[in-house]
Symmetry: C2
Subunit: 773 residues, 2 copies
């Protein structure tokens, strides 16, 4: 018995030792959700859990446990990018020193409020956790109003790095840092080296790429760092980054053709240093930095080719509301804007942005932004214009609380509103890299030494400012082009968002049988369906869920599509990601259908529609867009729309939260004849000064016998749309009271329209709208 006991003891000892060894540095490969969760629940510091390659569908990962700084617990993909998280899936961190790497979220959406959440619940938050080398792409909820965040930060000292996130179309910032609750303040989160790929326009607010806190937590210290990221075409809304807490830092990020600004929306004492804002000749929507609140320091930033104005100007310093409500606009005070460089940015500095003193009659006093910036210093900045600018400084309200000192401008001899502290001088311009230029003053200039300016120790490239009094963002060029737009420097190493361009196939289709339906279904995105002459009779909707062009073979002998499907169904059913160009086609209904319509629900992504040279007749609606649907672009060109009960209907966002159904609606060279109601009905509701959307252009078109059944007596309904242009049109014998009721305070214009027996165009300066906030 004794001998047995000894043996048993030895065996147990070995087993324990073995166990210990396995436990202390375990490597496990898991292949399904259940075993994954078991592995996670038992993981110890230093463990590595590997998810097998393949599609993981409907998986909710809860990653708790406690790693250590030296030995985190790691969850990784077998091959980075080959572990696909799809369906209703999410990932939650709820422990310490946990790392997740290499996942690819696609073809699905989160069943919770976040795709990646740094908490289990408000008590159990993550600390020192990290998501890296991961992609989230198009992981959208089924409807636009269903809000979520793709990454939600809670706790402290968490990090997202080398990730790629793109394509979010539903409500809610892509990344949100939450600091409600003491566990989440002073968090020092790091959002670094990521690639934020294109985020499409959302068509209303709540489409930020990053939001740090909210107004209700705007008194708390967050200390979040956003650095070295690329923001590419982040067009969700007017704010790319909405900083709403204190002491955040934004360093060395590149904003590339992104329609919005970095905005210090709430909160104070943020640092914005060494960032690049690169614009586009053709877009006035690309902005720079918009400042609200107290104590921010804006240094060493580079602004290139930005054409944005007002809210979207390269530097927009806003007016505040005196004694502002917590969720509105505090006055700008104690701000420094120093050592920045502006190249080819018209009117780069705009002050008193958002002043709305003139709208006192339609707004409550608590909405009137009349408090001008004070105790603000703008110094040691350079402006270089290849084309002279008559107004480099725009004062929407007086900039009398701003001190300008030692700013210099090369303005090609063009006179401008000179002022003390902004002096014209000769400069040369040297290319430092792609889209990167360094202006240098021809003669030495003296830098202004403001309070604590000695703390600005380096330039945008990290060159020391010690013993160098250069102004502007750059002291000297780096040895090599820093390649700020080299996408390889950002995001997941295994992922590229560069798509190969494919030559479109031209697919001939004949009128007989189901040839059109079949070939449309099998066509690839980008293909062109070519309709042979003849009549195409359809009884079911054509589903458009990819980019497709449908055009007649012979422009002298147009193909005709006759749709006789069920009442209330569309000839063309626009699905998510559907992009239709319909060209040179006659499209007829039998009076009860829609020519084009979105899905009634589950429009998880936007669609586009371009109609050129077509004739559309005999429908209940030409276009019917349902609620929570969005198109970036809808255009009708050189087409005839006639004998329809309703025209172009894009007015379903009636809850007045600032949303709308299409970004750009363009009608050019068209004929509207006998369209009885909703001829053009385009609506955006809610007072929301930072929704700068809705764009309607109606040019060179003719409207006759239209609008007779329009209940409000207005032919073209544009209520709440910010940008409207009616030009060179003819309105004749339309039985309406008004052709249009335009909004004078916004960018609504009309010119050279011929109106007879059709009412008139009225401009109302101020519109009374429901407050969104």
């Amino acid at each position: 018995m004794k001998r047995n006991t000894i043996w048993l003891a030895a065996l147990l000892f070995l087993a324990a030792a073995c166990q210990e060894k396995v436990t202390s540095n375990q490597q496990r490969v898991v292949t399904d959700a259940a075993s994954l969760q078991v592995a996670l629940d038992s993981a110890k510091a230093g463990d590595v859990i590997t998810m097998a390659n393949g599609v993981w569908k409907d998986v909710q990962i809860k990653f708790g446990g406690k790693g250590t700084e030296d030995a985190p617990i790691t969850l990784q993909a077998e091959t980075p990018g080959q572990v696909f998280i799809e369906g209703e899936s999410d990932l939650k961190f709820g422990g310490e020193y946990l790392t997740v790497s290499g996942l690819y979220f696609r073809n699905g959406y989160t069943p919770s409020n976040a795709v990646i959440d740094f908490k289990f619940d408000k008590e159990q938050v993550a600390n020192h956790c990290r998501i890296t080398n991961t992609v989230i792409e198009g992981f959208n909820q089924m409807s636009r109003d269903r809000k979520d965040h793709w990454v939600e930060f809670w706790g402290r000292n968490n990090q997202m790095d080398h990730c790629y996130l793109a394509g979010k179309s539903n409500e809610g910032p892509t990344v949100r840092v939450e600091i409600k609750g003491r566990r989440n303040i002073k968090n020092f989160h790091q959002i670094v080296n990521n690639h934020f790929g294109p985020r499409p326009r959302k068509g209303g607010p709540k489409g930020e790429t990053i939001q740090l806190g909210d107004s209700f937590s705007s008194m708390s210290p967050s200390n979040t760092t956003v650095a070295n990221n690329l923001f590419e075409e982040c067009n969700g809304e007017v704010e790319i980054i909405s900083s709403k807490t204190n002491f955040n830092e934004f360093r060395n990020n590149v904003f590339y053709k992104s329609e919005g600004s970095l905005v210090t929306r709430h909160g104070n004492y943020c640092t914005i240093d060494g960032n690049y804002f690169i614009g586009d000749e053709n877009s006035e929507n690309i902005g720079g930095i918009r400042l609200i609140n107290t104590g921010h320091v804006v240094t060493n930033n580079y602004f290139y080719n930005l054409k944005g104005k007002s809210f979207r100007s390269p530097l927009a310093v806003m007016n505040g509301i005196p004694k502002s409500p917590l969720n509105r606009y505090n006055q700008v005070t104690d701000v420094i804007v120093a050592y920045n460089t502006y190249v080819n940015c018209p009117s780069p500095w705009q002050f008193g942005v958002g002043t709305n003193i003139s709208q006192k009659e339609v707004l409550p006093l608590s909405e009137i932004r009349s408090a001008r910036p004070i105790r603000t210093v703008v110094a040691n900045n350079l402006i270089y214009n290849e084309q002279g600018d008559t107004a480099p400084v725009v004062e929407h309200d007086k900039a009398d609380g701003v001190t300008f000192a030692s700013n210099f401008i090369q303005n090609q001899g063009v006179r401008f509103d000179e002022r003390q502290g902004l002096t014209s001088t000769e400069m040369t311009l040297d290319k430092v890299g792609e889209l990167l230029y360094k202006p240098t003053t021809a003669s030495a200039v003296e830098a202004y030494q403001g309070f604590e300016f000695d703390q600005f120790k380096t330039d945008i490239f990290g060159n020391s400012r010690t013993n160098d009094t250069s102004i502007g963002a750059m002291i000297k060029a780096p040895a090599a082009d820093p390649m700020i737009l080299d996408k390889g420097q950002y995001g997941a190493g295994w992922f590229s968002n560069e798509k190969e361009t494919k030559e479109p196939s031209m697919i001939d289709v004949h009128p007989e049988g189901t040839d059109l339906v079949d070939k449309l279904a099998s066509a690839e995105a980008g293909d062109v369906i070519v309709l042979m002459p003849g009549t195409y009779t359809l009884t079911e909707s054509l589903v458009i869920n990819k980019a497709i062009t449908i055009q007649s073979k012979d422009e002298n002998q147009l193909a005709e599509i006759i749709y006789s499907g069920a009442a209330g169904t569309p000839a063309f059913q626009m699905n998510p990601k559907g992009e239709l160009i319909l060209s040179q086609v006659i499209l007829s209904g039998t009076g009860t259908q829609q020519a084009f319509a979105s899905l009634e629900q589950n429009m998880s992504s936007h669609y586009n529609l371009r109609v050129k040279g077509c004739e559309i007749k005999g429908f209940d609606y030409v276009l019917k867009a349902y609620k929570e649907t969005f198109a970036e672009e809808i255009s009708f060109a050189n087409s005839t729309l006639r004998d329809c009960q309703n025209g172009i209907e894009l007015s379903q966002e009636t809850n007045d939260k600032g949303d709308y159904n299409v970004e750009f609606l363009t009608v050019e060279g068209c004929v509207f004849d006998n369209v009885k109601a909703n001829v053009i009905d385009y609506y955006r509701g809610g007072y929301d000064e930072s929704t700068i959307g809705g764009n309607l252009s109606v040019i060179n078109s003719t409207f006759t016998q239209c609008g007779g059944k329009e209940s409000n007596g207005i032919l073209l309904n544009t209520r709440g749309i910010v940008n409207v242009n009616l030009e060179d049109n003819t309105f004749k014998n339309n039985s309406v009271k008004l052709v249009a009721l335009l909004w004078g305070a916004k960018n609504n214009t009309h010119a050279n329209n011929q109106i007879s027996n059709s009412g008139k165009i009225v401009v109302q300066e101020n519109l009374k709208l429901t407050l969104v906030y």
Copy 2:
């Protein structure tokens, strides 16, 4: 020549060395303002400048220069306390490492906005400067509405220590820390070891003892420390300390019988640790800590014998305004109240303080405090009641956002509103020192371990909490009584505010000649003028500028004073610091004078008036108080007021900024007969929820034939007065519409009044008032 050169060099070297020596440690005594300024302007690090003993009148000291940490420049009194700064004088710091010591500011006021200012101007502020061992006493502006501060902090790292400040009566906090402008944030000022002596009631807002910033700078970090100070009878207004910035610390201060609270009025994340709040059985005005905003930590505080309620309760946690305007009330969030001890404080914990949901009809929505505290923890506190309390927790609004944990109460078996986290238990009470008691639970209790509670490392006395799970403010008593009320521990070492009590002299006065006038003028404060029987005829006002009693010798044969001075002049002219007790005297006018009146201006301090057993008749006014005058107490007892055009008129603060003319107005056992207008006219205007004043008591009095000429038809005018009690009075044959219009929402009551042919008493629940802010 060579030899000469060498000699010259040697000489120059010596001279330089000499110069160096003198410069490096110069000691100068100065005797007048001009030489003082010369000395200051040329002072170098390490220098000491001594002001000669004596009175320095109308001196404005500008102290610039640069000392160093090791060698500050010092300005000192020849003998501390013997350098008297009087007249229109002030002191400004505008350099670095400067120390001022031993001065005594009295008999004057500042011609600028501060007596001691830590700046020359907004660009040139003080850093590392110090005022110490100095007294400012009664250094008041001539009128109440002329605002100033006695000490204004600007810059960074400045200090006030071992100073005594008392008696400020005009508008403006005694000490104000300014943080507007980047030079003044993160200032780490130290306000330590001072004695804040009595500050009289101001009679309206803006009478704080310390105010840190304001709402407009409430987003900025201040990091000011207020520690180890004694606040004695700081009664200026409802806020003793008004913290309006972030990250301030209040440690180990003693608040002794001070009518107000330490209030986190704006700003966030303050630390309130180890303070003593000592009350008084007889006062409901003495408060504790009132919380507004986010992130405060309240630990280790001791509350004793506080009878304050609501705004003034020992712990008042306020309701906020949703989306509050910047200058109003943010919601309480993320607050911790832990390890505090409450001894003999009825209803110490009050939540939802300031809720005014019921006043929606008279207030704009932006004034409605409906946002209850959230994410707030109240844990590990002890309550000890010698008399059981039926409601230790008062919920003005629901405390459903507050987590209570491990709080214990000794309630003498009295049932109370028990809840989870507040448990009745047996305790003993041990005396630790004067007014200092330590409750101990009879059996061990378990402390709640909240998030970051491990950071509460010590108790109120500095005992370590490591390995000790005791709850309440005290782990164990210190070896000896800490003598928290020993005034020798605070303020200037050479100064004591303890006054010797003097036995009053009884001064007999005869009716003849100017005996009364002469003896009144020569009497000392506290003396009693005794009027022999007879008639005293006066043609000039009697000036009352000290504490004096005037009474008849024989109560069966009352002396009569007949005043026949100019129309509109008073028999008794109340001057600053005048305190009159008029007892058993007949006072007659000739119809055009005032019996009592304040000065029309220059009332730099308050006055008091008590009338007992007198008959007053034949005046235009019984009492006329002018604007910007203030009495702490006015009373009429057992007196008859008859045949006057006007009665008691205290209604001059008509600019509706919350001010009023008397704190306590008491009428008891009086007869009002044929007083035609302004019978009692007492007014406070402006909606200001934190002015808790105006106190009117009218008891057991009779009014007949009064008010007939009152234009508004109300006999007793009390508009805006917060505390009104009308009880046991008789109103008969007064030709008015109303006896009184009371304010139901405030503490206005009436009981047991007999009213005949005099209208009625109406109670209006809500009063519509001008907003003060």
